[in-house]
Amino acid sequence: MRLLLIEDDPRTADYIVRGLAEAGHVCDLLRDGHDGLFAATRNAYDVIVADRMLPGLDGLSMIKAVRAAGVRTPAIFLTSIGGVDDRVEGLEAGGDDYLVKPFAFSELLARINALGRRPAAQEQKTSLRVADLEMDLIQRRVTRQGQAIDLQPREFSLLEVLMRGEGRVITRTMLLERVWDFHFDPKTSVVETHISRLRTKVDKPFEIPLIHTVRNTGYSLHAPI
């Protein structure tokens, strides 16, 4: 993917650019909000990663201006304030996701991947399929190898998020946000518990596991490679 990073702290910028290059992405780095706005409106990027606090033009105003110019490129805010209002403000300004510093690079990468591969047109899927696992989104039924799997509503949502992100890493935080609408970090093993329940139902009765743990980061659902 081709990415635009606007970040004024050299160490953070270096850390992100290096990581993205290793993951096979091309990344343009700018250090100023005005330059960022110019680049984001002139060139086509897959994802914009913008710091909230920038010299010249702050990240929030920059994304607002980008949206006002009609550019719909998905954008992730990086914020170091750890603020309770940052997420809402960021989303209202036209951002698609936000990440609080300090963050693990794997978390940023997972979120960039999730945004960048989002289908351009939000086509209405009626079913999802990964290997022999099938999910009927209309009737809210899950089957594997033709056998019906009985899931709680929340387990269904969890599996749906994992299946929609097939092959990609879905971090613990992303699951908390998307499945439970938790915008904070619980201190108990909420995600682990529910993943374990889901595995008992989806993977255990079958030979090949589909839900994989990605160490220190999250989970990924994919067919055996």
Binding site: V84, P186, K187, T188, H194
Partner: protein
Amino acid sequence: MNGARSSLLRSTPFRLALTFAFLFLLAFILSGAIVYQLMSAELTKRLDQSIKETHSLIAATYAESDEEDLVATVRDHAQFSQDSDQIFSLTDHNGNRLAGDFTAAGLPVGFSMFTATLPGVPPGTEYRAYSGMVGNNKLTVAFSLSETEALETIALMSFGWATLFITGLAVAGGAVLASRVQRRLDAIAATMVDVSHGRLGARIPLIGNGDDIDGVSGQVNAALDRLSALVDGMREVSANIAHDLKTPLNRLQMILESAADKTAAGKDVSGELADARTESLQINETFDALLRIAQIEAGARKARFVDVDVGHIVETIGEVYADVAEDDGKSLSTGLVPDTKWYVHGDRDLLMQMLSNLVENALRHCPPGTAIELNVTGNADRVAVHVRDDGPGIPAEESEKVFRRLYRLDSSRTTPGSGLGLSLVKAVADLHGATIELEERNPGLGVTVSFPAARSQGG
């Protein structure tokens, strides 16, 4: 302090007393001047009356047009008033004196003033005269003004003394009153100096008479109470932060040093790196939690408040944590009445986190086998969220402190947790205008967060 006390003129009460005395004096002098004018006019009027009466009395003797009688009467009058208080003059149409003490040919008819120079009269004595024609002759009756002037002088003198006396009394009384007020102001100033020097225990002495200075002093004392409570809290927080962050920082340093040693020896350090990562995550989490609480307390979120169904939040949290509790050997149940909505005006995310912290707190501090119950009750005014457990509870004397930042019961020092969970609960509750009650259930702890109900309450 002595400098301030010695310069009485700089003291506000004394200045006020002086200003007041000056204004009072001004009013006194003004009213005195008016009284003096009125009195003076009245005296002149009465004098004029007496003169006119005497004149008429003498003129009456001429009723029979007997000039001899008139001359004799004037002469009698002139002789009778030996002391020259009253003088008379009768002149013919040529201005020649027919009888009397003086010749008043030059005086106009009617009232007039003149200065007479007569034998036996101090020079410059003023007279009030009335001249009128009696037949062909002019009769003038003149009374000395010395009596009127004497009365006026007495009035002026007494007025002057009164003014002096009042001025003295006002200044002295003002000084006494001012110094009394000044002593109390000095006491306040001394207390504030003490406070600014760090002795936060200092309080302004109250007299107890309920006046305004006592009122202000009481409010300053109350503010000082709150300030010292806050400072105590801050001190405790700082000490706790220092302790709770220093410990993981020290561990981090040791891990890194051991990693450096291992690297020098060419050994694998991936274990140390993982440990260092965990430690730094923990430190960051603690800071995040502190910042988050500070931001919640700052109250910026209030602008985004909407009506939120607390019942739905409790249901969600119950659903999320039931499995977690079960895996932990505990049980979590909700006693919600189906299809009942409990609206409060608030922020959904924060309320979720608050309830999640309460549940996690119960999960963390209770032994396996504990039953945790969530519930919502309420009426038209309040919506109360209950988190009850039958675990070990909290000692009564600690229940006040558990909501303090980084406070941890001695018994829980060794269990994981930042000591910030309940502070966040308190911050969120405060932001929503909710009260928190801890209830000893023997066994167990009941936490009740009671919110003001939102307007859109209903089934």
